[in-house]
Subunit: 196 residues, 4 copies
């Protein structure tokens, strides 16, 4: 039996993990996602490039970690106040806030964009972000439907009707996703009167 005395929260990682993620984040903020290279990250973090490659297979993977620590963990979970409609509204409005922040938007579009042609990154993305969030959300929605707080409908579809438009605007149409639009979306999907 292997003795894994590593702290459970620190997966694995180089000594300078924080310096590296910090460097990547700063550079992205300063120059934009596309302009950041493994090279510049290594220089800024004062590590050799092989160190980067030992721990992350690609620039996208580095930024996936940045994304997780700086954006997703603090901001993307469905809140739980007891009022599911209110929670869903807050959650969708949260995307408007998120997308309104240039840095978060750069990280999101950068990593999502890279994942389109990088199967490994896509997998990491789904396992570490998508799956955990989705599971919890569907659970909450199902329960609320049983309680009669949400319309009876395939919970997968219900979640997707809410979550798709913001992503569509971010990744496809480029239109901005505002609180107002979030509200009409939630109203339309949950069947509440738009003017109420």
């Amino acid at each position: 039996m292997t003795d894994r005395t590593q702290s459970p929260h620190k997966r694995q990682g180089p000594r300078s993990r924080d310096a590296i993620l910090q460097a990547a984040s700063e550079l992205c903020r300063e120059q934009g996602y596309a302009a950041v290279t493994m090279e510049t990250i290594a220089v800024r973090a004062k590590v050799g490039k092989p160190t980067l490659y030992r721990w992350w297979p690609s620039k996208g993977a580095v930024f996936l970690d940045v994304l997780l620590e700086q954006v997703v963990e603090p901001a993307v979970e469905l809140p739980d106040t007891g009022d599911i409609v209110h929670d869903l509204r807050s959650w969708i409005r949260g995307f408007a806030d998120l997308f309104d922040d240039l840095h978060a938007r750069q990280l999101l579009t950068g990593v999502l964009g890279a994942a389109q042609t990088d199967a490994e990154l896509a997998t990491m993305l789904r396992e570490r972000i998508q799956r955990p969030l989705q599971a919890g959300n569907r659970q909450r929605i199902s329960a609320a439907q049983v309680a009669g707080d949400l319309p009876a409908m395939d919970p997968v579809l219900l979640e997707e009707l809410l979550i798709s438009p913001p992503w569509y605007r971010l990744l496809v149409s480029g239109e901005s996703f505002t609180h107002a639009y979030a509200d009409s979306l939630v109203d339309a999907v949950l069947g509440h009167p738009q003017g109420a």
Copy 2:
């Protein structure tokens, strides 16, 4: 009588445009979007790299043309049979067909992915695909709402509730988008009974 509206000395594209788009398409089919480079396109099409760069600013721009000619023009317009509900259902089902085709999916995710970090490509994409389609669709939807054939709702929102989920699945969640799912989506959004 030949219509030669070209002014003399005004050519408006590379001699080998078709060979280039053909080469790009073939290579994408053979090796996947990510593996194709401007270099390999040039070699396959038997042109110099400068010719590519003279006419297209990036690999993404080449594939945008491939996409337009091979995928969008033949397959992405909202049909018009007179029955708007039927048309919308066909249209959304069309995305399922489209995404089911590996080549089309590669082109779509490749170009969309690149557009996330390439503002110029994003603009081209919106002006040449998004805008023309969207304008027509909203028009059709508004007219049908006036005629009482579609629920009263912001037509922009209505269109987006239908169009977002397929793109979300393609670009974000990675789940497959089937005819069955397309149908429940259309039913849910247009308020028709799922079993009807």
Copy 3:
């Protein structure tokens, strides 16, 4: 008998021959020989590039004409005052003057440099510059030797002992070729006392 009514001095050439040579000369003066391209010459002279290529096979050939008209014809012939020693001294000193002029030096090193790897240019150079000058000079030297005004020695060697050092300094060693050095050279070769 063919009627060649062309003026004997204007070989053949495009209408804009002078504008082209002028442009080439100016650009060389402004930016240095290496920086001038057929492209910039064409632009400055306001002609199409094919016009250049119709009349000159290469940039070196254009500058060969510039060289002939601007440098060689005015400045490189052995003068004839009746005093051969004086004439040879003036001639060799003339190279010092020539090499002292940056523009002339650029033209000379540029064309000579190009001729090292361009056999066609080398041939033109020899037929149009070297041969005519050399023939006259050897003639003069031989006559002077008969008259006892120059040391008895192979006239070819005598000419070469005088003419080689300036070119050696220009093309090989890079050292400057001055009037003083020209004088000691002439003194040494013609056997006159250096201090006389």
Copy 4:
């Protein structure tokens, strides 16, 4: 005991230096100096172009190294047998041998030609070939003059009278430089009877 004066991590050249110089030399022999490009050298040596550019600023610089290793080091030094007149004669005759070898001639005219419009190359050429040879030669000549073995004359001029004509013929007049001509040159400059 191995002398490994290299500090660790300090490599001072490309791994494939020899392969590169070898490739350049072969290509020059096969196709002529002008036809060789950095591209073809890279392909033949099986290295990337950046490797070439990292270590040599230009094609001329690569060939300068070829020249040094294959031509100059084996063949261009003033020999030292104790008899200075004999040594100088051998030395000048050596140029005839050198220029008689097509490959050596291509390397020499190629590099010298390029140096005419490439100041950096010209500097390298002077520092790595010219200067070392010249210094030794002038030294030898001065010493021999003191010993009365050579005519009293500025040693710089004496050396140049001997060395210039071969270069003049190689680079300017294109005439061939033979042993016979080398001999008359040495005889004329050193004042020995031509028939002795």
